[in-house]
Structure formats: structure tokens, C-alpha cells
Symmetry: C2
Subunit: 407 residues, 2 copies
């Protein structure tokens, strides 16, 4: 078990109807005026935005607004929000939406307290140490941004999509009503669940050996997701399935599933699958992050597992009940092969689960072609350098080989 | 999944040598003077107290002192601490010790900001809404007070041992160095692990049906403890075993293992085993809380499991791999009996695990006798009323029957 710091200060208010509490909780926190940040229409259409505004009004909390946040939120809108936050002297930022809206709100929150340009935090020129308080009404469980120290912003001018991390902008309060997710399209539900499982796996396969308490929490979260997802896809209004997915999504990324699993300081894991996926969804921005992960992560696993088969055997055993073959079993050809069989079976099961939710099995299905691999490799190198990774160091030829496995 | 609020604001600084960071972290928090609270000698003898003082001194953090906290901390010492905290105008309270020391520090922290007597919070006359910041250097993993909203204080004059709960006094920072637990006697290690498992079980058997994500986290914590405890008992200096126990102890009681499992507002579970144990360790204060739980909890389980066998079957399956017998198995006498067998086997396994660590199997072993049961029942009624509990409502005759099973 490696040294770690864990800090999860978010107050989670979870259950049907919690949106009604927004105004009261924000007023109790002493926030008199907030900047309300939201997306491109669905929260307005569903009536949620009006309910939030009513709740704020009833509690005497004033608000300014920043709407129109797009998926992969762009720095220009963040800058606009920073201007509003300053001019209106807001006390806090209230995000109503999913990961993109929350990340935009976070960037406005720390950008507003920074003398220079907010991109400084994404270019590596500055570190976030302070932030206006962030509050969240979560509508899309996937990114885990409601509890995480992550923030990812795109810069169209530079052709970049960069992230920063900081405990200072972990949300202070998150309102989580699973019934708000009843109307999520199946593809988005499935991509969200895939992203959550990837958040756990990046930490589970971090290059650190067993940490039983953290490992069993991690595999427990994955099992709960594998159990709940088909139920939610089959009956989108199943409260318990939606609730388990929503809460699992928070725990998958608030770092509780990585305690003691970090090789160095900071978050556990090398985030190899995320890096490889970010390249393809940067290459073709129509690709949903979770759907990309459903293809990339199994490919990465097939390429790297020999670095530490025990991690994969543990994952397979805990999540899928897969045990290595024994002498006498069909297909047994010695202990080494029996273990290889169990690892391959584990990766196959995981990929099959993603596909059972409607996720793709190959990059083909996005209309990508092996000819694009050079471009993907360039994008990965630009974001992560010529060599990166914790479970196994990946150079350009490794990256190429993994992409080849993803076709 | 029931509605819940979860708030765990503690910053955990975990790993070998983290005590050296105490002064710096407290200074960074802006605390210029703290009240150092500790127990009856072991932290002084081990040199830990000196190291903490050195760290504070090096960082320019001044301190006053309140030593001599006993197990089952008493309100008189809390009042003394409140006087010191006020006179010295400290900014925060720093506990160096286990659950008793931390609880004393918490009570000083909220008592110092209260106009009336601190016992008001334990008699039910007042609710804690504010507290001086609490910091902790943990030396005994068991009570989970380093992350919890619990505080239990004794009042010798009234013959009472009462608790209060409040998010306001959850510690702001906890320094957790597993090597500080290398010197814990085996009995204390075992009693601590038993207490942790009880903290999880009180929430798991809360009267609420399945909440997969929380349930699998809960059983994962228990499994990690069952794996680590014999290793630590066998080799007290096994870092990984000590580290897993220490972190599991925090997660067992910071409420993450109870999210969505509460029948009403507040903490999940009826805390029946804790109530039954508190009576016997109030009757004979030489009884260690965890050792009492090792006897009481299995007895409670044997009495109540028929209220919801599924919960016990899930626990048995996840923690011990116990499946109900099937037709053809030896001992199978119909599905009902097969399930009863699996539940009994689960409770037997749990009790056997406690005993394997050196914990007692019967109240006999404490020198108690069935003639004491009336007195126990009176103490339970005094603390919890004539009827209490969530998994199954327990009246006086139920309580009596459970104690009978504990002999």
C-alpha cells in the first residue's frame, strides 16, 4: 500500500426530488449570488432549469447565467463566464448538467480568482490553489466531475483538449436525483457506464500490487455497474438501477477507488486508456468518450497484461468469477496457459459486456481506418510525450500496436 | 436505495512518516495555536508526542496541552479542556491517540463554542452546529473517529455514557501512519478489527434491502479485514496488513459503507449490537468494546436473521463464499432448510473468525453470569428505550433472549 492523500469534501445530497433543496442549501452556505452554468437546451426543455431557478428564488439566492456549454467545453465560453462572475461578484458557481457543464463551471470558478488567462492552468503555466465554491445539480452520470478533482477544457484555437487537477475545485455540494437520468438515451447511459468502469480500471491497473481494501471497493463498484446497467437499459425508469449507476459513477472517480495505488504523488494510475481514447475523439470529435473507451481499453489490456497477470486474474475472479483452468479441465495446457486463458477470458468478458450495452467492438464502427493510426500516435505523443504510462511504459510502437488491436 | 446525505470532509494523509507533516499542514491551514489532546502515557513513552511537538515547533504552531484522557473519556476532563481552549484562544484541537482521545478532542472543540455546559449535547438538550477545527494523529485503528461524525463521552456522576453525532465535528485532517500501530497488543488489534466489522455490519443489516454499490463496498471492507487481521497478528510489523486495517477502519465508520441504507434521516442502521454491547461494558467497565461485540453481534444475528434471510445470504456469499445447499448435497432438507443452513454457517464463520483472533465466544469469559441479564436489560432500556432497532424491533424480551444466546 503506497502513501496517499485523500480529500473528498463534497456534500452529496442524494435522492428523488433533492433539486428542491438547492436554494435552501446554497443560502445556508452563505452564498447570496451565484452563476448558473448549463448546457445547450435539455435542462431548459425538461423544466429542470426552471425548478432550480424557482428554488434559488424562494431562498433569496440571486443568480447570473451562463448557458450554452457544449460537450467538450471550450475556453472561450469559460472566459465569458469569468467575466460575468467578476462583474456580477458572484459568491459561487452552480452547474446544472453533466461533466462538460461541471468542468466549465470549475474553470470559471478558478479562472475568476486568477490574474492571468485561465488557459494558464491547462498549459501547465499555473497551478490551481483557490476557486470560488462549486455546486452541482447532476443530470448525466459518467464523468464523475461532481466529486472529482478533474477539469478538462478544450481550446479550439490551439487544437487542444487539456486537463488540470486540484482539490481546490472539488465541488462543495452535489445534488443527485437519479430520476433526472430516466430520460438519458441508451447510448449515453452505456457510454457513461463504460467511462465509470474505465475510471476504476485506470486506478486498478496502476502498476501497484494488491491493496485489498481499495481493490475490493474498486471491483465492487464495477460489479454494481455490471449488475445495474442492463436493468437501466431495459427499464430506463428503474430507480434502483439508475441510483446505483449514479452513485457508482461518483465513487469511480472521486479517488476512493485508488487510495494507496499511486506509484507517485497524486492520482493513481497512468491513464493510458484515457490518453489513447482522447486521441481518437480529438481526431473525430463526433466520437463519444465512453464509446471510444469500450474499444480502446480492452485493446490496451490485451497488449499490457503480461506485465502483471496477477492484477488481471484478481479482476477476473472478483468481477466475473473467472478462475484459471486446472489440470483436467478442457483446454488446460499447463499452469502458464491456464492463467493466460483466464486473463483473456476476463478481457473478453469485459469487452462483451460493453458490447452487450450497444458499445462498439472495433474502431471500424466509428468509420475510422488503420490508415489513421499515425495521426492518433501523433496526438498521443503531443498530449503525453513519447513515452508514458504506469502499468507498462508505452512508446510510439506500443501505442501503434494497441491501436492495431483496436481494429 | 434510500435518500441520503454523505459528507466526509476529512483530508487523510496516509503513509509511513506522515507525522512529520503535522506542523506544516496545520500552519498552512492558518492555525497558529492548537490544543494538543492525548492519553495516559503511551504516546509520550513511544516518543510520538515529542515528534508531534517538534513538528509543530518547526512550523511555528504554538500549543497548549490536555493530557491524561482515559478510555471512555469523562466529561470532567472535557470541561477542563474547554477552559484551556478558551483561555488560550486556540484555533484548533489536535488529538494524538485513538478513539477516546479523538472523541475528547471533538467534545472540547464543540463545547468551547457553546454557551452552556458541554453535556447539553449528550443529554439531548442541544445539537452541535459548530466546532473548532479538529485534527488527528491516529495511533489506534478501531473506533473510526478520525473520519466519523460520532462522539461518545462518559459522565461518571450520572453513570452515563452517551453519544452525539454531527458533521460539524468531523475531523478536518487525519494523519495516519500504519507503523504507529506496530506495537499494538494482539488483543487490542483483534478488538479493533472486530469493532470495524461491527461498524460495517450495523449498516449492512439496517432493515433496508439491497443497495449493490454500497453493499459490495461494505463486504469488500470486511473481506479486507478478514484477510489482513491474521497477518498482522502473526507479524505485527507487516506494513501492508497494518495499512489495510487502518484504512478499512476509517471507511467502516465514515458512512461510505452505509449510503442509501438508512430507513430514516441520518446514519444507516439501528445499532442494535452496539446498544447491547454498551450495556455490558457499562456493567463491567473492564470489558473492551470490541471484545464484547465479538460475542454480542453473532448472538444478535442468530436471533434476528429470519426477518430478512436474504441479507445474511448475501453477506455469507460475498464474505465467506457460502452458498445455500442444493438438492443432493449432504444435509439438504428442502430449500428453506438449505437457506437456514447457509445463514447459520455464515454466523458461525463470523464468530469463528473473531475467536481465531483471540476474541471470546461467550459472556462467561468476561466473568459475567446469566443472573446479570436483568441488569443488562435495564441498561439497554435506559439508553435506547423499551423498544428499539431497525432490522427487527427489539423489546425487553427480545433483548433478554439475545443475551441468553450470548452465554
Amino acid at each position: 500500500m503506497k502513501p496517499f492523500e485523500f480529500f473528498g469534501p463534497t456534500r452529496y445530497v442524494f435522492g428523488e426530488g433533492v433539486t428542491e433543496q438547492v436554494g435552501g442549501v446554497l443560502a445556508d452556505a452563505g452564498w447570496k449570488k451565484v452563476l448558473l452554468v448549463y448546457g445547450q437546451g435539455s435542462v431548459a426543455k425538461s423544466g429542470l432549469l426552471d425548478r432550480v431557478k424557482e428554488s434559488l428564488g424562494a431562498a433569496g439566492v440571486a443568480f447570473a447565467e451562463l448557458g450554452g456549454v457544449r460537450p467538450n467545453p471550450e475556453v472561450a465560453l469559460v472566459r465569458e463566464g469569468i467575466g460575468i462572475a467578476r462583474n456580477e461578484r458572484v459568491d459561487a458557481i452552480l452547474a446544472v448538467g453533466g461533466g462538460s457543464v461541471i468542468d466549465c463551471a470549475k474553470a470559471v470558478g478558478f479562472g475568476a480568482l486568477h490574474d492571468g488567462d485561465v488557459w494558464d492552468f491547462f498549459s501547465g503555466a499555473a497551478q490551481v490553489t483557490q476557486c470560488l465554491p462549486i455546486a452541482v445539480v447532476l443530470t448525466i452520470p459518467a464523468a464523475g466531475s461532481e466529486g472529482s478533482s478533474s477539469c478538462v477544457i478544450s481550446n479550439d484555437e490551439l487544437g487542444a483538449k487539456n486537463g488540470t487537477n486540484g482539490d481546490a475545485f472539488r465541488p462543495r455540494v452535489a445534488f443527485m436525483d437519479p430520476t433526472l437520468t430516466y430520460t438519458l438515451p441508451p447510448y449515453q447511459t452505456a457510454a457513461g457506464v463504460t467511462d465509470m468502469i474505465a475510471h476504476v480500471c485506470e486506478r486498478f491497473f496502476s502498476g501497484v500490487g494488491p491493496v485489498p481494501v481499495t481493490d475490493l471497493i474498486a471491483t465492487g463498484i464495477v460489479r454494481a455497474l455490471i449488475e445495474a446497467a442492463p436493468v437501466a437499459l431495459d427499464n430506463p425508469q428503474d430507480f434502483d438501477a439508475r441510483a446505483n449507476i449514479m452513485w457508482a459513477g461518483t465513487l469511480a472517480h472521486n479517488d476512493i477507488a485508488g487510495c494507496g495505488r499511486s506509484l507517485g504523488a497524486g492520482r493513481a494510475g497512468g491513464w493510458e486508456s484515457h490518453a489513447l481514447e482522447h486521441a481518437i475523439s480529438a481526431f473525430d470529435t463526433s466520437i463519444t468518450h465512453g464509446a471510444g473507451l469500450a474499444v480502446i481499453m480492452p485493446a490496451w489490456m490485451r497488449y499490457v497484461w503480461r506485465e502483471d497477470p496477477e492484477r488481471f486474474l484478481l479482476f477476473g475472479q472478483e468481477v466475473f468469477g473467472i478462475e484459471p483452468l486446472e489440470e483436467g479441465d478442457e483446454g488446460f495446457e499447463g499452469a502458464g496457459t491456464a492463467r493466460a486463458w483466464a486473463v483473456e477470458a476476463t478481457i473478453d468478458e469485459l469487452a462483451a459486456f460493453f458490447q452487450s450495452m450497444g458499445m462498439p467492438a472495433s474502431l471500424d464502427e466509428f468509420g475510422l481506418a488503420p490508415e489513421n493510426i499515425d495521426a492518433f500516435c501523433d496526438l498521443v505523443a503531443k498530449a503525453r510525450g513519447e513515452e508514458f504510462g504506469c502499468f507498462k511504459k508505452l512508446g510510439r510502437e506500443d501505442v501503434r500496436a494497441i491501436y492495431e488491436l483496436a481494429f
